[in-house]
Each structure stands twice: as C-alpha cells, then as structure tokens.
C-alpha cells in the first residue's frame, strides 16, 4: 500500500507544479506594481518597486523562487507588509475548519439518514415530498440562505430573546478568556461556547444549503444498492428491515459515500468562502479573496498550493479508504 501511495504522490507532482505555474502566470497577466505605488509614480519608483516585489525577474525564476522558498511560506506578504506569508495563511486554517468540518459531518450524517428514509419509502408521498424539498433547496441561491439565515438567526433571534445567541460577525474561540484558574475542561467548555456563538449559525446555514444536494445523492446511491441481489438475499433469509438497511445496505453504500465526502473535503475549505465573508470569519476563503484582490501574489500562490496539496492528498486517501472499506479493492 505504501508503495502505491508513494507512486500516486509522484504521479501527482507534475499536476501540482502545473497548477502553481498556471496560477502564477495568470496572476502576472496584469502588472501588480501600480497597486503598490501612489499616484503618478516616476519611472525610477516603478523600477524600484518592481525589483522590490521581484516581478522584474524572468517568470521561471520567480516560479523557481516560489518552490525554493518552501512554497513561499517564508516570504513577506505584499499586502500585509509587516507579516510573512505563513503568519497570514496558517492562522486562517483553524477558523475555516471550525466551520467546514462540522458542517460536512453534520450534512453527511443527515443526508445519509434522510436518504435512507427516502429510499425506504421510495415512490410514496414521504419520498416524493423529500425529493421535492431537496430540489427546492437546490433552486435557491446560497447567498439568499446566508442573508436570510443571518437576519433571523443572528439579528432577530437576539432581539427576540434579549441575549445574543449567535454572533452577527467575528470569530473567537475565547480559550482561557473568561475562565479563572482554567483547567482543561473549562478550556474545552469555553472553546465550545465560543465556537457555538460564532460558528454554529454558519454551520447550520451551510448544512441547510448542502442538504438538498446530499440527500438526493445519497438517496440515489441507496436506491441503486437496494435493487441489487444481495439485498434480496438478505431479505429472503429473513433479516429484519433495519438490519438490511444498516448492516447490508449502508456498508455497501460506503464507497460512494466516502467518495463524495472526500471529494467535497477540499471544496469545503473554501466552499465556506461566502459564509466567511458574510460572518467576517478570518478563514482561508476570506484571506484568499482579500489578498488576491489586493494583488498580494505571495499569499495567493501559497493558498492555491495548499489547496492543491490538500486535494491531491485527499484523492489518495480516498483510494486507501476504499481498500480499507472494501476488501475487493486492491491498490496496485
């Protein structure tokens, strides 16, 4: 298996390099220098800035520098001048994960459950209603869910209860803040409280948005499985319906479920981009957008490299998980 993993990684290195080269080249289509100069700069100032930013170098020298400097992590950010790239990018990972991982877990669990219910009642009113609801949810823009969710979940709910249950914006796990002589448990409780205050509402909104897609997908997976021979055999030997569903069907449906979860994994890192911007959560998506629109090439490149790496690794992990879940799959 390890030889397989190593081979896959080696195979994916060119893809990784090309993505970075393409993104670097695209960014450099428009000259970034003027964004960092005042009005009417003199030619000397322009030249000095170009040298300072390093964009006077030939393109492939810049690409080489990017890889040689450890994916730009140690470089100075152009936009946040006092900070290095790692100081900008690394703190953004936790807030992103704090929203996306719970959202992914919750929507997958709910999606599989509702999919099971829907598939078990295939063709009946309940199933049709669930499918219809899913299509309706899919037909409304993400942004509308966010705007309405924030209005009712953060503004109106706080007004109504007189306490701010969900924050309108911000992110602060507040570890060790309000706790006198903190111990580990209190830390965890404080962090959970902070998480619920700032992240639970975005998580719920994200779940509502993805639930439509997830439910439909899992329903069709389960319906497909439930028409197969082994299910008939299981029923024929007298297994209870719950046992058929959970023990036989769900286990066999695990492969598509894993595929979907793993495919969505890198996407959720930035998939919450809108949520992050709307709720002012300083995550990866927001950082990427702010720094890219301000022509901060080092930060943009590093984030793209990080995302590509996550994607490639999660793809390989998916295959490994296949082999673990399904003994028939051999990694060659």
């Amino acid at each position: 298996m390890w030889s397989y993993v190593v081979r896959r990684i080696l195979y994916n290195i060119p893809i990784f390099v090309v993505i970075i080269v393409v993104v670097m080249a695209m960014l450099r289509i428009n000259d970034p220098t003027f964004a960092y100069l005042g009005k009417n700069p003199t030619p000397e100032q322009i030249e000095a800035k170009r040298v300072e930013l390093g964009v006077d170098q030939p393109f492939f020298v810049q690409v080489w520098d990017f890889f040689a400097s450890g994916f730009g992590l140690g470089e100075r950010s152009w936009y946040a001048e006092s900070r290095t790239v790692d100081a900008v990018v690394l703190p953004a990972i936790l807030p992103s994960l704090a929203i996306t991982l719970p959202a992914l877990a919750l929507s997958t669990t709910l999606g599989v459950c509702i999919g099971l219910i829907s598939a078990a009642n295939r063709g009946r009113v309940l199933d049709r209603a669930l499918v219809f609801l899913a299509v309706i949810g899919m037909s409304i823009s993400f942004l509308v869910f966010i705007i309405i969710g924030q209005y009712f979940g953060a503004y109106r709910l706080s007004e109504w209860l007189g306490v701010e249950v969900f924050a309108v914006r911000g992110f602060d796990l507040g570890v060790g803040d309000d706790v006198e002589s903190p111990n580990v448990l209190q830390h965890i409780a404080a962090a959970f409280g902070g998480w619920a205050h700032y992240c639970l509402l975005p998580v719920l909104i994200s779940v509502v948005v993805t639930l439509g897609y997830d439910t439909r997908f899992y329903r069709s997976v389960i319906v497909e499985q439930s028409t197969s021979d082994y299910i008939r055999t299981a029923r024929a030997k007298g297994a209870s319906e719950t046992r058929v569903m959970v023990k036989h069907l769900l286990r066999n449906a695990l492969i598509p479920i894993i595929t979907r979860v793993m495919i969505t994994l890198p996407f959720v890192v930035v998939g919450s981009l809108l949520l992050e911007i709307y709720f002012s959560v300083p995550g990866m998506g927001q950082t990427l957008l702010t720094h890219m629109t301000n022509k901060d090439f080092p930060v943009t490149q590093t984030i793209v490299a990080l995302l590509a790496a996550i994607f490639i690794l999660s793809n390989i992990l998916t295959d490994v998980l296949y082999a673990i879940v399904d003994p028939r799959v051999r990694l060659k």
Binding site: I15, L27, N30, I136, M138, S141, I147, E224, M292, A308
Partner: protein, 467 residues
Amino acid sequence: MASEPRASKPDDQPTDLLAARAGAARPTGFFDQPGVRKFMKNKPAVVSLGIIAVFFVAAILIVAGGDSLLRLAGSPVAPANLPGFGIKPDRETRVTHADELLGKVERALEAREPESALADVGFEQYRLVDLETAGGIEAIEAMLEAAYEALDDFDDDLIAYEDVLFERDDVVDDAADEGVEPDAEVLAELDAELLQLDAAVGERLVTLEERVAELYPRPTSLAYEASVLLGTDRQGRSLSLRAVYAIKTAVQIGVVTSVIAVLFGGVLGAAAGYFGGIIDHAVVWLYSTISAIPYLIWLIVIAFVAREYQMPFAFLGLEEGQSLGQTLIPVYAAFILTFWVGPCRVIRGEALKIRGLDYVQSAVSVGASANRILVKHVLPNTAYLLFINFSLLFVGAIKAEVILSFLGLGVQGQPSWGIMIRDSKDEVIAGFFWQIGTATAFMFVLVLAFNTVSDALQDAFDPKHVG
C-alpha cells in the same frame, strides 16, 4: 402509377408488409423516440420546458428592446424602498418619502431658473404636477406651503403621542421600582389616550399624503403600475423592471457559457475517449489539473484577472486599451474555463463505451475516417449527455453568477439577480425583503425549471440514472 403493377403482383406483398413493420418498429420522427416519449409523459418536465421557453422569449424581447430598457431599469421610478403590490410602508418611511418629495420641490423653487428646475422634479412617470395645470409657480409654492403645514401638524401630533407613550413607560417603570403592580386605571386611561392620538397621527399622515399627492399626481398608466408592482430598491429603481431585465443577463450568461463549455468539453471528451492513447492522457491530465483546486478558486482568479485585463488591440467591438471589467467577458471566461470539465469527463466515459460498439466497428470496417466517425457516430450518440450537461451547467452558471456578483467580480453595468441579491443585504437588516424576494423568486422559477428538466432528461435517456 407505381402502386398499380405492385398490386397486380401478389408475391410482392410480404415485402411490403415487412417494410411497413420495419417502419413501425424503427421510428424515425423525433417525437417517436422512446426517450423523447418518456420525457413528454413527464408533465412537470414539459411545464418546466414551457417556463424555460418563456424566459428565453423574454430574454430575446429584452434584447430587442435595446438600451432604452436598460436605462429605464437603472433610473428611479418612485421613492426608495417602496413595498410591492401597493402595500403601504410603515409610517416612518411614508413620512420620509413625503419629506423627500417636498424637499425636491423646495430645492427646485430655490434654483436660479425655477421653471426649468421644476420641470425636472420627479421620477420617470411619477412627476411634479405640470406648471400650467397647477397655475404657475405661485400655485406650486402655495401647495408646498400647505404640504409643509400638514407635515408640521403631523410632527406636533407625533410628539404628543410620544409624550404619552413616555408617560406610560414611566408609570410602568415606577411601579416596577416600587415592586407593585402598576395602577390599572391609570394605564387604561393612558392606553385609551394613546389609541386616540395614534388615530390622530394616522389622519395627519393621510392629510399630508393628500397634500403631497396634489403636487405629485399619482400616474395612472399601466407602465407605472407595472414598474412599482414589486416595489423599489434603495435608489428608487423598479424592482420588477430590474428583475425582468436580469432574465436577459441570466439567459445570456447561461447560454453562452453552457453552449461553449459543453461543446468544448464534449468534443475534447469524445476525442479522448475515442482515440485513446496520447490524446486521452493529455485530456485527462488537463482536466485533473483543473479540478485539482476547487472551481470557486478558478472562478475567482480568472474573473479577477480578466476584469483588469486591458485589450492590447481592438477586437470583437472592444477598443484598444479598454478594460474588460465593464463587459461580461470575465464572467464568460471564468465559467467556460472551469465548467467544461464536467461534460468532458462524462462524455469521455461514454465515448470509451461507444468505441467498442458494433456500429462504430462497422463504420471503421467500411473505411470511414476517424474524424467522420467522431462527428457522425460518437458525438450524436452522446447527444443526450450533452443536453443533460447543458441543463446542469446553465443552472451552475446562474448560481455562480450570484456568488461572483456578491464578491464584486461578476456582472457590471446591467441588472442581474446576483447584483439584486447582493444589494439587498443591507435592506434585509432593515427589514425590507422585496428586493431579495423578487430576485430569488425569478431565479427560483428558472433554476427549478432547469432542475426539473435535467432530472427528466436523465430519467428518460440515461439508463443508469436512478429515479
């Protein structure tokens, strides 16, 4: 003529029958195909197809309407944030509107040339009364005076009302401080007074609005009614007009990007699947590279770069040095360059399968060229996939437009549902839902129709699809 000798030859009849039978078994008409039949039996899908047709026709009509419609959608038609369906806004907004309308007249009267200034007061159709009809500037001044008096009366009554309200609050607070129940009799008295004053304030407001209506006669034309049917946005622009104009934007973006992306991805995928070898490797490698980072990142990067790009030479009606930011090209580029991956992957898989089928083998054996087989045999047999993908991409494009517009990287210079939803975010916090509701409703209908059609297409044509 030809049938006569046949009829005289009985031994020809079986051949005829065979031909007739073959004709029945091998339907040639478009509507006779089993997939199409199955699709047409799906009532919601047919209705959805009709809805899509209506949207497309509307888009064509809007294009025919030209720039005057665009100008109209961008200019104020009535006071800001008016609710739709003739619903009256809350008192505060009504007073603000009246105040605003009167202020315009006052400023015009103070202008150097009051006549011409007064002629410009108002919106598209909701305008200040004609000078001659009103009886000259003096008459307008008198009407303005009367309206301001009504406003003062309203303010006085409102203050009286609020005084009583404060008094009532004091009574409740005092009682709470002393830890006793407030005196029910006093409260009832105050409540009655409040009710009375409230009615008085309401009456004053009606009088004020009547005075304003004398200055600004309400237009009776159907065009005006239609333009305020769904309310107005923060700049007083008609929400119904903007939402309708946005149909054109959506259809334009959807058609251009999905047609190009599906054809591009389809041809590439079919070539990869059919030829295999180095072409297949190259195509697979290309799309795995593109799909190795989330498509949202590509959308943002491409749209961002394309917006700032300045044309190096005049092309496609663009002038040299013109920035692409004001056109739809950044949106097209972002969508096409990311969306072709989906159809390409699907059609490559189908082409791989078709390659081994008999009819392709027989085409090869009669000496058809590879290109001919690709265009005449492989691509047409993936047509249903092309259609399904077109439908899916169309929805994807409409929804991605909203995201890009929210990020400020989307459509510029013309209304779109994305821009409307983006603009509505501050209004929602203030409790005004007409803009977000209008844009969402329009978008919902089109996207739901496309979703239904895609489902029905998959049901009817894709044997692997689970319904």
